[in-house]
Symmetry: C2
Subunit: 460 residues, 2 copies
């Protein structure tokens, strides 16, 4: 343990780059519920999942027991391009807030995808390559995941087909262009290229798409094109596993300086960043070795944890995917169009859902104008323009730090800064122009959505 | 000197962050020519420059003798937000090229301004604050400098007025928006707000502006508004001084691993990045302690070094600034509108101009389509989407590495990767769509521009 002053940025050396991912499921008493076959309602095993996912990724998806899973050397080499990622002591923000709290953030935005998504993209592309596939398909909303997967595929020489939610495709031409730099094909979704796309277009001719719909298209193409599989950037157990590198690095860096966080905060859409950040800390908590407060932050306009149902639901709109037990708003739920802050998926990772259900984690929902206020305050003193998604965590970190200011407590607050907002300037512009509003779904809207949850044995 | 394997990224510790800037003028036998008063043709001293520039910055501008100038602690603290910047060993690029050359690049893009410009922005803002000024004015073209200055001013609580070349203002609304996040006011130039702006608008009603014109406006506002001074992001001696932190860090990192570069390459617009990168190395060369090949890379569409005149010229279109002795294309020269690669200033830093004139440095001009080819090749293996400006250096680094492949020489190549291209996707899109063309000014165009160089005693 070092006794020197904690630097602004703690960089681990390449030698300290983790050699294993941390599988928090190994520590969970109640394991996350298995994926179910939507037709039979039966749990899906290795063979059932092979048409959709890469073999090794299915093994990781189903492995609830192995706590430490080795990271292949080739993936570690790729990680070295942009990792270990810095753990930043937010001295400037602390000073600005006048808080006795100590604030740390793990910054995942120092790579061209602009977010943590690259951590899982390279792993998934690597296993696809190992299986000698030609390529992979996926969906992307705001574009971080699609960009990350394009980068990983370009590096490994794999084909990459991205179905991009149509409204993002049109509003974010630059994201699309970055994916093209990396050689990916990008198709606005819903598209007339797939059966499910044609069906959705026929039913809703003017639709601007949704993540759930883009997933359906990507899955259809993967399962009908020889040599292709489908990959997903969040929600799944495997993705949280890969993202655990965020938490393992963070814990290694904090341990070096003898720092123990009191509160760990992350934004939550599908849960990949939060799940990755908390993994090794939650492991300690589950084993009774240490205690932490974990806070998931979600948008008030898409409040899966705080207002959703803990139930089996479809992962996609087209209902072609396995059923997952999540906190869900219903697979047809689409957040209001004026919601600019990302995190718009209707469900939440089964791992996090179970942990939340078991009372091991808290969740709060925040409104987007408050999120952008925090984003701007942060940018001006910490010098990083944060992604709207990440700014949800900033909002709550600032709120907790201000609470410490009132009480005089010197708490240590850690949050995940998942990425940068360089491709989100339209949202920042709305915020500055005062045209950004907050939208919260009504109870009636949610009830209507819940009414369409699938019938599953044992689920009322 | 470490004997371990050279990592992908060499990060110095915060302790190793340089404590002094390196003033290469102290090593130059022939000093850069002084700034001249455009009215009298006489060299301008401290008192002459005070209406325009901050006091301490003028001292730095005129100091040709002090080799090491201390960096104030407050500036070092700000630097710690994003520095030391990584020196990257381009293992992946080397492998892709199949070259025996060893390639290193100093990456300055890991901050929200997206470039090295922040190194001088914080220094200039700091001295303005020290002088108890209310604010500063400046111009920006592509927007990196304006963003950097906005960030520095937000941090210090200074007002920041940016005159942005009109075509960039319109084509890059997101850059403008980032500046607004940092609280700057951004005005498209030429504007009706200034005398010089009104004059230019009257003469050329449809003009989309130029850097030289935006400089004139910013200077006018600074000199007519109490409590304001003008700051500039390139060309000046003081800016190269601040940017020397790039070179000092790079040299420290290379020395640690016992690596000596054979070739040092940088893109050159006004010269701030190249001048900063080479400073301590050039110092060694000037003192006869070591030899290096230095290569300045400029766009073929704005070829100040390779086709310009070494002469006194105006720094701005409105002719309100001091005259500087530069390699210049004439202060009225405007590169073709289809030039997308940045680096569009008509002149070149007096320090670099003198070094080039004295045969201490080489220069090459490259065409933009070749630059974007190199950019894309680099992005796909090194994972960083480079700025078009930086990609000029990548082009020549790749060319030199391929030459090594032919000859079998294991040269060590170092280049400056000044920034990221996230706000340049329109240019990338043109490149992909095949609509990007190369434009080279004709000799007649240049001769016409040279004919308007100012009459200065001793200059034909």
């Amino acid at each position: 343990m070092s006794t020197e002053k904690i630097p602004y940025k703690i960089y681990l050396s390449e030698e300290e780059l983790p050699r294993t991912w941390y599988n928090v499921r190994a520590d969970m008493k109640t394991k996350p519920a298995p994926l179910l076959n939507p037709g039979t309602g039966q749990p899906m095993g290795y063979d059932d999942l092979r048409p959709v996912f890469c073999d090794e990724l299915i093994r990781q998806e189903l492995d609830n027991d192995t706590r430490e899973i080795p990271i292949p050397e080739e993936i570690r080499d790729f990680y070295k391009m942009y990792r270990p990622a810095p753990l930043v002591r937010a001295y400037c923000l602390e000073k600005k807030l006048g808080t006795p709290a100590k604030i740390y953030y793990k910054f995942e935005g120092n790579n061209t995808s602009g977010s943590h998504k690259l951590n899982s993209a390279i792993a998934q592309a690597y296993y696809a390559k190992q299986q000698r596939l030609k390529g992979v398909t996926t969906e992307t909303g705001a574009g971080q995941w699609g960009t990350a997967l394009s980068m990983a595929c370009a590096y490994l020489g794999l084909d990459c087909k991205v179905y991009m939610v149509k409204c993002s495709y049109e509003q974010k031409p630059f994201r699309r262009e970055v994916m093209r730099v990396y050689g990916a094909s990008v198709t606005p979704s819903p598209s007339p290229e797939t059966e499910v796309g044609r069906r959705i277009l026929a039913e809703h001719p003017g639709t601007t798409g949704s993540l759930g719909c883009a997933i359906s298209e990507a899955v259809e193409v993967a399962t009908t094109t020889p040599g292709y599989r489908y990959v997903l950037g969040s929600v799944l157990n495997q993705v949280l596993l890969h993202q655990s590198i965020i938490g393992v690095e963070t814990k290694t860096a904090l341990d070096k300086y003898g720092v123990k966080p009191d509160i760990i905060i992350g934004c939550a859409g599908g849960g990949s960043n939060l799940g990755g950040l908390i993994s090794p800390f939650m492991g300690q908590k589950l084993r009774g070795e240490a205690d932490y407060r974990f806070i998931a932050v979600e948008p008030a306009s898409c409040p899966s944890f705080t207002r959703g149902r803990f139930a089996y639901d479809f992962c996609d709109t087209g209902m072609v995917c396995p059923l997952a037990k999540m906190y869900t708003l219903g697979s047809n739920f689409i957040p209001s169009a004026n919601h600019a802050g990302g995190l718009r998926y209707h469900g939440m990772s089964p791992v996090l859902a179970q942990l939340y259900h078991d009372g091991l984690m808290e969740a709060v929902a925040v409104e987007q104008t408050k999120v952008f206020e925090a984003a701007e305050q942060f940018a001006r003193v910490e010098g990083i323009l944060p992604a709207p998604e990440s700014s949800h965590a900033i909002r709550v970190a600032i709120d907790e730090a201000l609470r410490c200011k009132e009480t005089g407590e010197e708490k240590t607050i850690l949050f995940g800064l998942t990425g940068t907002g360089y491709f989100d300037m339209v949202a920042y512009e709305k915020f500055h122009d005062g045209t950004m509003t907050d939208t919260i779904p009504t109870n009636a809207e949610l009830e209507a959505s819940f009414a369409r949850l699938p019938k599953v044995p044992g689920q009322s």
